[in-house]
Symmetry: C3
Subunit: 347 residues, 3 copies
């Protein structure tokens, strides 16, 4: 049969390497569509002169847009039969994607664990996106719960990879040419520098954004992500939720875009330390977000840049003025995303 | 009166030639929007290096995107007062459209036939899209049922053009520079070559995609297609269907995008042999598709390329695992599109 | 607190100057998205060769797209806490925006008047958008009703700027290089020249376009306009209208796009003389428009160009065949926009 129906849990082998399909040349159109779909306002991704003033050749695509493009390519091979995307770790953003670049992706299976139900298993996959020069754009690990085709098929040996709680400061990649020495705070929209943030500080990003069915579907197709749950109302109306599930990455992008209000100068995502899609999102939901500074470190040998480790919590249909989060009873029921990333910020 | 209300059946004359308005310079944005609206994943239209490896200057726009741009230009002059788009024939795709090219369109009336009701007539029109070098991008015939302004106006002599059942292999245009000798099957996403397909073989494309009102309207406006039935809920709610009708070309694009799953290497549409919009589609419908190989021929004097004549059937709200089609009783009630095209595929 | 919650009426000072955030490099993607969201068909904005034939370096972005980009930048500083956008005056379009240009915006407060309720006040603001060469792209005045943070805070001295009823012909800016001597009427789509329009003439633009929630939100985010009323259904459902309000500029764009039918050759907006958003618009509304020629003047020292002062009225859910407008009892209840602008048109 020529049709691909995606891999099931028992199809994966430890150490298996997959080169994913459809190399993608990106353009200013990806940037414009990303702006139009998420409302992002970071100056470095919006303006060529602003980027040039930072030593970059031109405005790079948003870092999470690069993430989605790489993620999307992995879906047909990794997660077409996934039940849930469980977590992320060890994500390092390398060369920024610039209009005209071509991104490709490959993955390696680095862990497998059948679940006790024997209906599903967890697949740990390390994926690497590269540009046309072979430079790494993004290297990250995710783990995903995948259905078994046949519950009776034998379980593979359990291998769970050791993953860092956070990417070490020394492992961050500073984009080539980047020099924040002449950073333009006025054009960036806020005056807060690295030194103005304190560990433990919390920022309510205040605004909310409602997601329409067409919006998340257009975004997710832009990334050539083919996961069925996002697109097929005919089957999903009979599924778990009775409707299409929004790609969790779209919620990440909205939370990041909202975080401009209070974190406008956290202009470069350098690492994705972790992330959990706490609850599903659907069309009609309104996303809010708040952030906490988990850690701050100077970037070694750089006077112009500092790093902030940031936890961003997104909620739906509930403002974040009181910073809803996890307690002993579990997450506040409005929380949909708990994201842990490291951003570069001018000093 | 300065407002154009479109031509009615009695306004057309055999042999009449119309140069259509609004030349359009295309860009990477058209490609990105087309990807975002249809979910297409063909590598040649997604990646400049993949296209360069095929001898093309860069990634061409999707062939059906070129079709829609040419079609859209004809609407204000040809089909603003159309009841239905009845059929296509003799469509030959010439020079691919590349970002930066400018497409224009002209049409000639090649047939007229008043219907027995005297309320409408069928207009046969040959349309040609050209690029800024005067090269033909697309040459095709469609026939369309158009309202009469005045049912009492006299009928023109009936002229029905002779049209081929399919474009002959010798009439296909091979894009300048195209050489599939180094085709990259891994990046394309499937390993199936021309030789792997058999006449009569059927492929279920498996996935389904639900159409939102905003999506088809955005796509159809991108093509500057002005047909009222797609855009005006205020009048359509009192019309035949009580709601906006989806541009049939959008369904063609969705079916073609879905066909990537099983026909990923059918990378170039060379001919549109025929097509019928069997039933109307509306927002909320989920489109599925399957294809049958009607014929296969080597491309003369080419070792790198073969041609497949493909019939693609699209359905709504019904999977295609059992290949629903036409029987003596007529079409399966779920069928919305019956398309016949010829694609080039690497050998 | 690092979060910006926007300025309230008492935060503004006469003469205050603000440089707005997020410089934006525009591209062909902005043009394509604008076409896809509004359905505009003006040849000069669609085709590089058509623009080159007019002496322009390439197709400029639609003038109202430039307007929205400049307007959007002002929102976080000026109108985040606005109740209503009350009017426009003295808008002069300068250098067209071309793909690759970077637009920035700054504003000056030129008038303040507390309202008798003491709950709100009117802020008069002159905003200037500039390109990367420092050339003015757009200079205009708007006045907007803004909430007070504290009704008890003291009123500023009332200053109401003197504003012209219309921009004088001698103040219009003719884009550099523009020469309409070889204007291509066929490609433009209509044959009507400047001399074909008479003062007092009315044109019904005939078509209607229904707005979807996703469409206006995507457009408004493209302009990085952050006004909450357009995006947050969670709060708006408890607000004045129970739902999201459509950015009035989107309605301006739709009315202008519809006006192609009858005013296809009014190819350059030179001035925004005035404008009033008579009634709010919501998703599901169908917009129609008609126009009246208020005045016509030759452009001094130019044989190729004339100016038309045009009033365009937009309605919702009501055709404009009988030219609904204002009477002694007030506006027809279907009217949503009353716009007064000056366009250049070939002679």
């Amino acid at each position: 049969m020529k049709t691909k129906l995606g891999n099931f849990f028992e199809d994966f082998r430890l150490g298996q390497v997959m080169q994913h399909a459809t190399p993608r040349t990106v353009s200013t159109a990806d940037a414009a569509l990303y702006t139009a779909l998420t409302g992002t306002r970071f100056a470095v991704n919006s303006s060529d002169p602003f980027a040039a003033n930072l030593g970059l050749p031109r405005a790079p695509l948003d870092d999470f847009l690069a993430f989605h493009l790489v993620f999307g390519k992995t879906v047909p091979d990794i997660s077409l039969n996934a039940v849930a995307n469980l977590g992320y770790a060890a994500g390092i953003f390398g060369a920024p994607l610039y209009p005209g670049d071509t991104v490709t992706a490959r993955s390696e299976i680095i862990g497998l664990k059948e679940n006790s139900s024997r209906q599903t298993g967890t697949v740990y996959v390390r994926s690497r996106g590269a540009n046309q020069h072979g430079e790494t754009v993004l290297d990250y690990v995710r783990w995903v719960m995948v259905r078994k085709r046949d519950p009776a098929s034998p379980a593979p040996p359990t291998v769970i990879p050791e993953l860092p709680a956070a990417v070490a400061i020394g492992d961050l990649v500073i984009p080539q040419g980047l020099d924040a020495g002449h950073y333009d705070w006025t054009q960036a929209g806020e005056a807060w520098r690295w030194g103005d943030y304190a560990v433990g500080e919390r920022v309510d990003h205040a605004d909310g954004i409602t997601i329409e069915e067409a919006e998340h579907a257009i975004a997710t197709r832009l990334y050539q992500n083919t996961a069925r749950v996002h697109f097929n109302q005919h089957t999903e109306k009979a599924g778990r939720f009775g409707r299409r599930l929004i790609y969790g990455g779209h919620v990440i992008s909205l939370a990041r875009a909202l975080s401009f209000n209070g974190l406008a100068n956290a202009f470069r995502i350098a690492a994705l330390n972790g992330g959990r899609h706490v609850a599903p999102c659907f069309a009609g939901d309104t996303i809010y977000a708040w952030s906490e500074i988990l850690a701050k470190e100077p970037v070694p040998n750089r006077a112009d840049l500092g790093a902030l480790r940031i936890r961003t919590i997104a909620t739906k249909d509930r403002g974040c003025g009181d910073f809803p989060e996890k307690s002993v009873e579990g997450y506040d029921p409005a929380v949909v995303l708990d994201l842990d990333y490291t951003a570069l910020i001018a000093r």
